[in-house]
Symmetry: C2
Subunit: 289 residues, 2 copies
């Protein structure tokens, strides 16, 4: 997916949010924001918005000297998700269609996204509200078709997205064929994206193979991933890609069945998907499986 | 008032909105947006946000070759305000305190601002809703103190803000001492700001002296105004400054009584004023009269 001109105000907003998370020095905020504006003035619109996201958050880490600025936010939402886990697991187990419920809860976890949202837009209370209505909300796409793709056999690669969210992913991962499943996380901390540490905390390393992709992109830029990840990706018969960043980077993959599970949190993504903002999505990309 | 880092995402948003109003060519939108990002990367934060607003809208006019891109929007909201005029005039005349009601309606007109708002955020229906509740809404500041300042005597200069809004201004202007009142409009079309043509349409040229300030800034940058305007400004004992742009450019004036009448439409202005977004404001600036 290419970048849109509508992404530009959001790049500036993201840069400022991230700068303020990493530092309370206005001079540092200003330096980061000015450098991102300069980058935006020359950016290649054929690139995915994730490339600019990567540049923004690399710059935040470089200017601040903090290699993991969202560590505290990741811990906070991991803890919140762990606290909620017994409740949401019960919700899934007792649902008329537990697989459908697990997909919905995994997508609800995708709201824990501090690239798309700021802490003004999203907090613990919003997550509680979403869980209360998750089984009734509309979903764009067909969870039954997704389930058929899972049951078709072959290797499955699950691309996790954010910390906190990855604990909700566990609800779905537990219902996937674990012997032919690999879960992948980011290789290097970026925004609040899940890394190996978060997969371990979620208990997913005890369930199936977990690998890291070697990259610090808040999505899956294949050119930026390590060889072992690419080997698994190329061998996968089905890719389950969580979240906006993975959608932005893989929506054009046309030689492989990719199912995107996400909340459409921004107007650009929603327009690309042809759905309203806030909608839960279970859809394939360029490849129609 | 200085520019805030929080203005940067809004500069990009404004540039894109304006580019799309003036043209349906994506290449032109992109060119304008890239050039504004470059300007933002080097802008002097000690300047008022109006300086960047002026740069954005000058660039939109230059790139498009259209000297008045908001002409259709101005006509639409002038016509809407003219249609509403009998109703709002009755509302003022029948109010328990007509002066108070006229101030409130003049401020309500300040919502017709296509710098602060996009046509997604503001339309005819929003204006109707605001009028219905205007007499009950809270106002930050004291309209009675403003009235005392008006009645104190001396020369009054009324700085109009937007087309459409200027027809609501007429309700207040009719209740000001017309023999010692001058109304000023922008010298050159910029966004949907009122020019002499709009003052004439509102019938204000029939009521009192109307001058233009010679400038194309969406506010009052004194260094950018013509000599005749500066003469009237310097001779004024009271300045009534409508709207965010006039607040952004004159809030630091400390040698003259300036009353600011506006809707606080953006978070930066609201924080500067210490009020919630959307609040009606009747306040003095650096000079406490």
């Amino acid at each position: 997916m290419h970048s849109s001109l509508d992404c530009f105000p959001c790049f500036a907003r993201q840069a400022l949010d991230a700068a303020r998370i990493v530092s309370d020095q206005p001079e540092m905020h200003e330096q980061i924001l000015r450098r991102i504006c300069l980058l935006a003035s020359e950016m290649d619109l054929n690139q995915s918005p994730v490339v600019m996201g990567q540049a923004i958050h690399r710059m935040v880490k470089e200017v601040s000297g903090n290699p993991d600025p969202y560590r505290a936010i990741k811990s906070r939402f991991n803890q919140l998700a762990l606290d909620l886990y017994p409740k949401v697991k019960r919700l899934v187990d007792q649902a008329p269609d537990p697989f459908d419920a697990a997909v919905r809860l995994a997508i609800t976890g995708n709201s824990i996204d501090f690239g798309a949202y700021t802490s003004r837009d999203f907090n613990e209370a919003s997550l509680h509200r979403m869980i209360d209505t998750v089984l009734l909300e509309p979903v764009s796409g067909d969870i039954a078709i997704f389930k058929q793709a899972v049951n078709r056999g072959g290797n499955i690669l699950y691309l996790a997205d954010n910390a906190g969210e990855i604990i909700f992913d566990r609800l779905l991962i537990e219902r996937l064929p674990l012997d032919r499943l690999t879960v992948a996380v980011r290789g290097i901390p970026i925004i609040n994206d899940a890394t190996m540490e978060d997969a371990r905390l979620a208990g997913i390393t005890d369930l199936c193979t977990v690998i890291d992709n070697g990259s610090d992109a808040p999505g899956t830029l294949l050119d930026d991933c390590n060889k072992s990840f690419l080997g698994v990706f190329n061998q996968a018969d089905l890719v389950i890609a969580k979240g906006q960043g993975n959608y932005e980077t893989l929506s054009d993959v046309d030689n492989k069945a990719v199912f995107f599970l996400l909340k459409a949190k921004c107007p650009v993504i929603a327009a690309h998907l042809g759905c309203p903002v806030g909608r839960m999505i279970v859809m394939t990309g360029a490849h129609q499986s």
